[in-house]
């Protein structure tokens, strides 16, 4: 190979590498996301509208105020009734389906935020679950390729200390469950999310969820996370939902309780 050809090839390869490594967006200054984090406020998705204010997810009668239209408010009320009967269908109770988006920002136990210029991964210990956000300049999957999933497809970019990304491709009514008060989204739902660190030990996630089928206006919810203090013993461990699952769900959607030998101890119930 002649020298000028070699130099040309080297230049092309070098440019290609530089292009591939360049972070998307006008800046990448995320701050320190290392460590293990936990969500604040319990697993009510929108604590600011919780009724009662100190409601726990799964508490009979508890609700929030997502901006549902009349049709979807009626669906929500029906699901609140199912909560009262302990029969709210929730895929994650069966140990095996992802918690999905946006509920991945509503999980208990530990979190890790793995931030790199080209991708950010949000890892929940509970589940476990992963949300991958591509920030390398790629676009959303095209309509003829994407299919509905629990977690959807997320792409975005960094502007200084703020990651902004959009999420599409959600399952909708049969799989996009937001929390155990019974909130669901339609298959038309999509979101714009901003993540930043207002202080050294805090992460703020602002979600703007739009749902043309279910909402009369965008639903803006802010979730907050705090770094779990401690030494190097603080780390993510197995969650393993199926390890000793003594609460299977029967055909009626009722959560059962098993004894240490796997026998159902609920009166009048049998194992599914």
């Amino acid at each position: 190979m002649k020298l000028k050809h070699w130099m040309l090839l080297t230049t092309v390869v070098a440019c290609g590498v530089a292009q591939a490594q360049a972070p998307a967006g006008p800046g990448f200054n995320p701050g320190d996301y290392t460590g293990v984090w936990r969500m604040m406020g319990g697993t009510i998705f929108d604590r600011s509208t919780a009724e009662p204010a100190n409601a726990a997810a799964g508490q009979p009668g508890a609700r929030e105020r997502p901006p549902y239209n009349a049709e979807w408010e009626k669906k929500y009320l029906a699901r609140i009734e199912l909560v009262k009967q302990d029969k709210l269908p929730d895929p994650i109770s069966n140990c095996g389906t992802p918690i999905g988006f946006p509920r991945i920002f509503n999980a208990p136990d530990g979190y890790e935020f793995v931030v790199t210029p080209k991708q950010t991964w949000i890892l929940t210990e509970n589940g476990p679950n992963t949300l991958r956000i591509y920030t390398d300049g790629r676009k959303h999957l095209p309509d003829d390729f994407i299919w509905p999933t629990y977690t959807g497809d997320s792409v975005g970019s960094w502007q200084g200390d703020t990651l902004t990304f959009t999420t599409i491709g959600l399952r909708g009514e049969d799989g996009t469950i937001v929390d155990r008060t019974g909130i669901i989204l339609s298959d038309a739902a999509h979101a714009t999310t901003q993540i930043r660190k207002p202080t050294a030990d805090a992460i703020e996630v602002k979600l703007t969820i739009e749902d043309p089928k279910a909402f009369v206006r965008p639903w803006v919810v802010t979730k907050r996370f705090t770094r779990i203090p401690g030494g190097d013993e603080i780390r993510i461990m197995d969650y393993a939902c199926a390890e000793n699952n003594r609460n299977p769900v029967d055909a009626d959607g009722k959560t059962l309780t098993l004894d240490t030998n796997g026998k159902v101890i609920d009166a009048g119930r049998s194992r599914p």
Binding site: G42, N54, A56, A57, V83, P108, N244, R246, I265
Partner: protein, 131 residues
């Protein structure tokens, strides 16, 4: 003042129990909590049969006198080991044979089971909410 391990443990347990009672997030992560009556807590007094330090929930098995010369086994649901460990619990917090008092939110249908609220350990230490 130097904080002892026991003080740290008790503080952690109390903090955890408060978190469980108020936020209820870790406990209700995996399934609904509608089966428990948190407004009518009860206290079990008995002997630990086993402590399962497992996911998705840890379980405390307590044998309680049935008043007829026998015992009845109760299943007490706790949080996941991950979250409990970060707040001071250890796999040895309860041991088979320990005499304990355990405050629970019982199951509404009368099943001999409930959600952990607090406990008085064999050494007299109290963790969680016993009042």
């Amino acid at each position: 003042m130097k904080t002892t391990h026991v003080q740290s443990l008790v503080a952690g347990l109390v903090a955890c129990a408060v978190l469980l009672v108020l936020a209820a997030g870790p406990v209700y992560a995996h399934h609904s909590g509608a089966m428990f009556d948190r407004n009518k807590p009860m206290v079990l007094e008995g002997v630990v049969k086993a402590f399962q330090w497992t996911n998705p929930h840890s379980w405390l098995q307590v044998e309680v006198s049935d008043g007829k010369g026998g015992t009845k086994e109760w299943s007490v649901e706790c949080g996941s080991p991950n979250t409990l460990a970060r707040t001071g619990w250890r796999k040895t917090t309860f041991n088979a044979g320990d005499k304990v008092k355990v405050r629970i939110g019982p199951m509404i249908d009368g099943t001999a089971a409930g959600i952990f609220v607090g406990a008085q350990l064999a050494n007299g230490e109290t963790l969680g909410e016993m009042k």
